[in-house]
């Protein structure tokens, strides 16, 4: 499992300074939550770490590798997977195919071997299918296995995206508002699954989340962003009582 270190990260979009000199670190195997009001720059952190945008300044290190300027498609090979607030799935493919696509970074067979269905390619295929089935079992997605993603209820699609990220066998997992739009039962399942993934697979997890209940339940540490800047950092209990955090959320005068 790998840690993540962000140093002096800044980025602007037009005149908006989305992040200003943000630094933080996540230890291997840790669960860190990033919270903050809307527009605080939480998802921007994810977009920079997963290389969808370029940072204006600062460095991002995953494990001992500097990924600040890595190509987007190489992120998976470093061991980073993420989910999206608004879901980015292959909507017209089945759940199983979505999960198998996440095995892409692990593929070794050649195109010719695969077209001719050579034994080497078939063995690799069976291996990938096995890994996908393990994730399906972990997330109890059996009944959705061959359903087309576009036809699934929202909660199930969120779970599929989480499952697909796991199929990458990530060493660092970024979950962007995993609880948004879930009903209480699904939310409870999610809290269990996040903890389960870390405890059983050892995956380092960074969450962006508004649901403070979930954050308190699963996080080792919480980071508060406000207006593109780091406001506070600490255990969930400390953060909940921090006057600066309360002020940022509630707008109370201090």
């Amino acid at each position: 499992m790998i840690g993540l270190a962000v140093r002096g990260l800044s980025v602007s979009f037009g005149g908006v300074r989305a992040l200003r000199d943000v630094s933080f670190a996540v230890a291997p195997g840790e669960i860190l939550s990033i919270v903050g009001p809307n527009g605080a720059g939480k998802t921007t952190v994810f977009n920079l770490v997963s290389r969808l945008f370029d940072a204006d300044a600062g460095t991002i290190t995953a494990g001992d590798r500097d990924i600040t300027y890595l190509a987007r498609h190489e992120i998976a090979a470093v061991g980073i997977a993420r989910t999206f607030q608004n879901l980015e799935l292959f909507d017209h493919a089945s759940v199983l195919d979505n999960l198998l696509l996440a095995r892409h970074a692990h593929r070794q067979s050649t195109v010719v071997a695969q077209i001719l269905r050579l034994p080497s390619a078939m063995r690799a295929e069976v291996e990938h299918r096995l890994r996908a089935e393990q994730v399906i079992e972990r997330f109890e997605l059996e009944r959705f296995r061959s359903a087309t993603v576009a036809n699934l209820p929202y909660g199930a699609r969120k779970l599929v995206e989480f499952a697909r990220a796991l199929c990458l066998e990530p060493k660092l997992l970024l979950l962007d508002e995993p609880a948004a739009g879930l009903n209480p039962e699904e939310r409870a399942d999610l809290a269990f699954r996040i903890a389960d993934v870390r405890d059983e697979l050892g995956t380092t997890i960074v969450l962006v989340e508004h649901d403070m209940g979930l954050v308190g339940e699963v996080s080792d540490r919480v980071l508060v962003l406000n207006d593109g800047q780091l406001l506070a950092e600490g255990t969930p209990d400390v953060i909940r009582r921090d006057p600066a955090v309360i002020a940022a959320y509630l707008g109370a005068a201090t």
């Binding site: 292959f90 909507d91 696509l101 695969q114 001719l116």
Partner: protein, 293 residues
Amino acid sequence: MDPWTTLAQLIVNGLAAGCVYGLVALGFALVYKATEVVNFAQGDLLMVAAFAGWTLIEVAGLPYAVAFPVTVLLLAVLGFGLDRVVVRPILGRPQFATIMLTIGIAFAMRGVVSMTWGPQARTFETPFSRKNTPFFDVVLSDVSLSIIAATAVLSALLFAFFRWSWLGIAMQSASQNQMAAYLMGIPVKAVTSLTWALSASVAACAGLLLAPIALVDIALWLVILKAFAAAVLGGFGSIPGAIVGGLLIGLVEQFVGVYLLQEAKGIAGYVVLLAVLLVWPRGLFGGGERKRV
């Protein structure tokens, strides 16, 4: 000729022409699915391939079996380069810009071909030229049979490619959701250029197969019009739809020409195109993948 012989030959000729339309339509579908660009230069890629094949066979003296794959490879490189150098910088601009761009590419290719090879039509020898195969009472031309057989093999290869190979699957995923494809470790831009390469290779196969019956001539690009009808009939962007649409257009043309009205043969494909657009715009395999706004 007795009616059964006529019928059998019509079917074979119709299928042969239809295969070529289908392959060109397939080229459309590949690029359209990957980038939402309608490549109006698809017919010109076919035309360039026919000229390249003629040069390799008649000038360089290569045997057909060598010239064929070499031409396909050359066109793959051309397709890759077109995307990398010309099309990629303009992606994300309004659709109109990309349409003008591919029309521009088409005119440029026609210009280069007429400057390099001149306006006269020519032919090249193939192992199938001027040969026939008797089939019961019917005599079928080997050229037509070669087109049908080659299209069948090519379709099977493409089916396997898209179904089982990581690259084929990567191409489909990149066309469905670019952002997700990136995060799955798929180099989307390179994969898109490879899709153009594949599309141009398919056009090359169509050009080399068509040349023995249609002459190597600049006007070969006009096949794009029939292919357009085939693509719309099959459902624009559908790969099986392109082949089936092509076969149907090829058959309709032949049948209309013989059983209905000789003069109507040339416009039969466009009548089908208009009819499909009016009453059934999604086409045969259009499916429900309508764009959401």
